[in-house]
Amino acid sequence: MENPYRWIWQYARRSRWQIWLASGLIILNAVSVVVVPLIGGLLVDQVITQRHLERLVPLLVTMVGVTLLRTIMRYGYIMLWERVGQNALFDLRHDLFAKLQSLDYPFFTRVTNGDLMARLTGDTDAIRHFLCWVTYNTAECLLWFLTAIVVMARISWPLTVALVLVTPLIGWLTTRMSREAHQVFFNIRQSFARLNAMVEENISGNRVVRAFARESYEIHKFQQYNQDYRDQNMASAAVSRRYLPALDFLAACLAVIVLLFGSWLVIQRQMTLGDLVAFNGFLWLLNQPMRMSGWLINDIQRFSAATIKIKSLLEAQPTLTPAQSQSAPAIQGAVRFEHVDFAFPDAPAVPVLMDIDFAVQPGQTVGILGETGSGKTTLMNLIARFYDPTRGRVLVDGRDVRHWSEAALRNQITIVTQDLFLFSDSINDNINYGNPVATPAFIRRMATVADAHDFITALADGYDTVVGERGVGLSGGQKQRISLTRALVKNPRILILDDTTSALDMETEATIQRRLQAVTRHKTVFIIASRIASLRQADQILVLRHGRIVARGTHEQLIAQNGYYAETYRRQLGALTTTKGGRAHDHAEHG
């Protein structure tokens, strides 16, 4: 695994001037830590003992001045480090978000939304904390430690050596702690992600929870996730409990060594009493870093554990290889499938599409009928290259979609999915999502085509009405019409309507279809529908069953074939005929 420090340096290095400046200030500050105790000594020696009263005020002014300077410097470098941390966090979040945008469907079927959220919030926060707190605290500790050794060795090197002998023991403890803490913190991150995911789903699925009166079940489930999170934190406390007090104890033992060995040295006249007092005064510079080491190790391991999941997200590769071409030429709208097979990457043994072969001329309308799960939506996803076929080719304008740039395809092919998603934003901004420069007039015209204009203007704030996330609060039919408008405003060359009007009554649907014909005359249109009324005008109708095209032709041809299509037609018609005296039946036979 790549070293997490080298990795985070890529982000921190962009603020390297701030880092240099901050480092300079840290060193100045750490060295000047000895000034105030020294002034204290001078006050005692010169002013009190030797009665140089004229030096009192200058010394006091120096003391106050140095403290002021030191606090300003410290504030300065804390702010600089915070800035470094924020800049790195910003860049990191940007990279993560951009990465998410580039990942394809197979990736999103493997992870929960809550897990992704946790990586961009909690995990990045651990990294921020590392950059803007752990860094300078570690630097301070190291500098204090070194300053202490230099100053104390000048006073008495045997005593200093005796103290430094404890260091390997501390090093050994921190190394062990480091190893144990890493796994524990990783478990905490994982548990946090699960908790996040559980709450996220509870909020998103609140309608189902209410409808089944499952509130207490959800609370119970929540508590289990909570308890797991607590247990993971307690496991971390167990590691801390093993090492932190031990480190503290060792650091405090330095004072015992000074007391015993130092006094012995004084008794042996190898050191003066005054030196011992001075030495003792500097002791905190040595043992404070030792005390802190355990806490810092904890923070460092928390950081290191957080980088694992962030790096795995940054390194995730889309399964689809990007196209060579980056140009985005205009699409005419010819679509051809050449013996296409498809299976989902996570279930390669289950064929979803088999030997799909058809051709569509620019401007044609293609209807697709098929059973639930027969592969209709998948078929459409192959055109916009949300997936690649496992065998065969999909061609747009005679060119393999794998050779089109993604931008060319996505800008000119629009799918109105069954899965309706609206952003929590105004209806207007939802509609012009794919075409932010669309004029209000154009938006109105397209909304009228989708039969959305009337109900939108009937809302209190009209087009400025803010809708809830996923479009909650609107009826299914309203959402369908807004997302249809959104696709029309995008004005693509190829328009794919995936069961877009299923939640509308048939009359509205018929109105929309009629108006659609006028605006899609030059577009290639695919219509997936289960109502024959939506399909019958198509130039070509494909009937899909179990992933194969079992029949194709116009409405009349398919009725004549008397297969699945005709059967569906009779069922829909037949359902309406009992009281109408079999009129439909007659017609079907004649058609």
Binding site: G40, T109, L116, F212, Q223, P245, V258, S475, Y564
Partner: protein
């Protein structure tokens, strides 16, 4: 409709943090009083070692060294060592106990918040981005554990330290003590100035964090739309703008937050200088050299805990901005809730009656339902027909009491539905909604959500009736296939079949199908109908469907338009009336036939 909040818009705060909320925090700490006292004890005992060190050193310097008394020196070392061992044990206990208290506190608060969230109506979730709710339950509360457990105990120990030190100082020299307290007002002014700005800054920051979470959540949930419309670059630019807001707000907040401690340090040094100045002026008159040096030491001892208290205060201010939001959500009152004297609805036969029911979302809003009356007898199938937005879904929402009726009465088995508990009502009313939601987990568990104690065989049976079994069997792992929220690789129709099986498994007395089969193909639907006919027997059911073919067998067809029942009757009767229903039916017929 109430105003909705969006991802790039700060939320307004209904009520600011006040003293009452501290009491409320105290309420969460109460169960841990004994443990907190023990922790406090362990800190105080542990501190003895800290205090003992300098004292032992003093003894060594004053007595053992001048007298070259090696045994005494050894004894001093031994005492010191033992006190350190005790400190070790105390520290071990403290780490464990503090984490336990903090984590349990988190559970308590989260559970309260989450429990209230379960009581809130759809409208609460519909009017704000979900990421903003999520951040309150998960992230905000996380920030509190350390403050409440560790912070509080340290605060108490610091206050005790300050008190003890002050007592020593007064004992040594009360005049110098008063002098050294002279700068305290400066400290208070400084703390006041900082906290005012800090509170505003952190409130701003918490808003920005909430916005970021909201945008993030929505972007992940809506990734397919973003990619489908090739708006990745625009989304990233939006995200950057929100992340940059966050960065700016954060920097503003820490600039203020970190200003407190330099102020305190400078005041502390000024005090030391002041004591030197006054002390040396009066040296020999009122103060001895030894006293002055000891006093300077105590002044330092006094300021260390004061700096710590300042830091605690600092994090408390930060935390209150989160607490405001947490308490706000905890206090949110559901509009639909159990009455004080609500009772459990006994098992019902399924007699449903609407008497002059009117409904509007807000008092001054438009009338969504206008004096709707009908009577569904046990076992009947009622079909609701009418254009989009006519009020069909509202009738259904009232039935399951997702909303309360504005006026009129809704009774089930002659019991007013507003008088019974929601759980007892909803467990007998099964709704299959337009929006199908799939939880991440196995298909088996998703169906079992309808009845948690159902056996695998029960689940299979429901799936068979719902015609979901066929496609589930073709999946590689069958019923154990793991699906993600929003379905992943399942088609919309397949998701509806799973949701259908879920409702069937719940086996409700009153069954509501709200456009339940829109995404399902005709053949599957026909098969479904066959199974359904069996299932509808003995249940009162309400069916909303646009395909009139699905509702022909209904015992009553209610034609709804503009919030009113405009026609009611059986299919044959309504056809004979040649009214609205006939028109609807005929137009569908013609559309299909397209004879013109």
């Amino acid at each position: 409709m109430t105003t909705r909040n969006t991802a790039n818009q700060d939320e307004t705060l209904k009520r600011h943090f006040n003293w009452h909320d501290y009491a409320r925090l105290g309420h969460y700490l109460r169960p841990y009083t004994v443990r907190l006292v023990l922790v406090l004890g362990s800190i105080l005992i542990g501190n003895v070692a800290v205090v003992l060190g300098p004292f032992l050193m003093k003894l060594a310097i004053d007595q053992a060294i001048p007298q070259r008394n090696l045994p005494q020196l050894g004894a001093l070392g031994a005492v010191f060592f033992i006190s350190l061992l005790i400190a070790w044990a105390c520290f071990r206990y403290r780490i464990w106990a503090i984490t336990a208290i903090g984590q349990n506190l988190l559970i308590d608060m989260r559970t309260d918040l989450f429990t209230n969230l379960q009581r809130l109506p759809f409208a609460y979730f519909d009017t704000r981005p979900h990421g903003k709710i999520l951040i309150r339950v998960v992230n905000y509360i996380n920030t509190l554990s350390d403050l409440l457990a560790n912070g509080l105990v340290n605060l108490i120990s610091d206050v005790i330290s300050v008190g003890v030190t002050l007592a020593f100082m007064f004992a040594i020299n009360w005049r110098l003590t008063l002098d050294s307290l002279g700068l305290i007002p400066l400290l208070i002014i400084w703390a006041y100035v900082v906290q005012k700005k800090q509170r505003t800054a952190f409130r701003e920051l918490s808003n920005k964090q909430s916005n970021l979470n909201a945008y993030l959540h929505e972007s992940i949930a809506g990734i397919k739309v973003t990619q489908g419309f090739a708006q990745e670059a625009a989304a990233t630019a939006n995200f950057d703008a929100i992340a940059d807001d966050n960065r700016q707000a954060y920097m503003r907040a820490v600039k203020i937050q970190y200003a407190l401690s330099p102020g305190v340090q400078n005041i502390s040094t000024l005090t030391t200088a002041l004591i030197y100045f006054i002390g040396i002026q009066q040296l020999g008159v009122v103060v001895s050299t030894g006293t002055l040096i000891a006093f300077i030491g105590y002044v330092n001892n006094f300021w260390n805990p004061v700096i710590n208290i300042g830091n605690f205060y600092n994090s408390l201010i930060t935390a209150t901005t989160y607490l405001e939001r947490i308490f706000e959500t905890m206090d949110e009152q559901p509009t639909v809730r159990d009455a004080d004297d609500a009772f459990d609805l006994p098992p019902v036969k399924g007699d449903v009656r609407f008497r002059n029911v009117c409904f509007q979302y807000e008092a001054d809003g438009p009338l969504i339902l206008d004096h709707v009356s009908f009577h569904a007898r046990p076992g009947q199938t009622i079909a609701l027909v009418g254009p989009t937005g006519a009020g069909k879904s509202t009738i259904i929402n009232l039935l399951a009491r997702f909303y309360n009726v504005t006026s009129g009465q809704l009774t089930i088995d002659n019991v007013d539905s507003q008088r019974v508990t929601l759980a007892s009502l909803r467990s007998q009313v099964g709704v299959m909604q337009q929006d199908t939601f799939i939880f991440s987990g196995t298909i088996m568990d998703n169906i079992r959500y309808g009845r948690l104690d159902a056996s695998d065989a029960d689940v299979l049976r429901a799936a068979k009736v719902a015609r979901a079994d066929d496609f589930i069997q073709t999946l590689p792992a069958g019923y154990q296939t793991v699906v993600q929220e929003h379905g992943g690789s399942l088609s919309a129709g397949q998701r509806q079949l799973i949701a259908f099986a879920r409702v069937l498994l719940a086996d409700p007395r009153i069954l509501i199908l709200d456009e339940a089969t829109a995404a399902i193909d005709t053949q599957t639907e026909a098969l479904l109908q066959a199974g359904l006919a069996e299932l509808l027997k003995g249940r009162t059911s309400f069916i909303v469907a646009h395909r009139l073919s699905t509702i022909r067998q209904a015992d009553q067809i209610l034609v709804i338009d503009h919030g009113q029942i405009v026609e009611a009757g059986r299919h044959a009767e309504l056809m004979a009336q040649r009214g609205v229903y006939y028109e609807l039916y005929d137009s569908q017929y013609r559309l299909l036939q397209a004879t013109e």
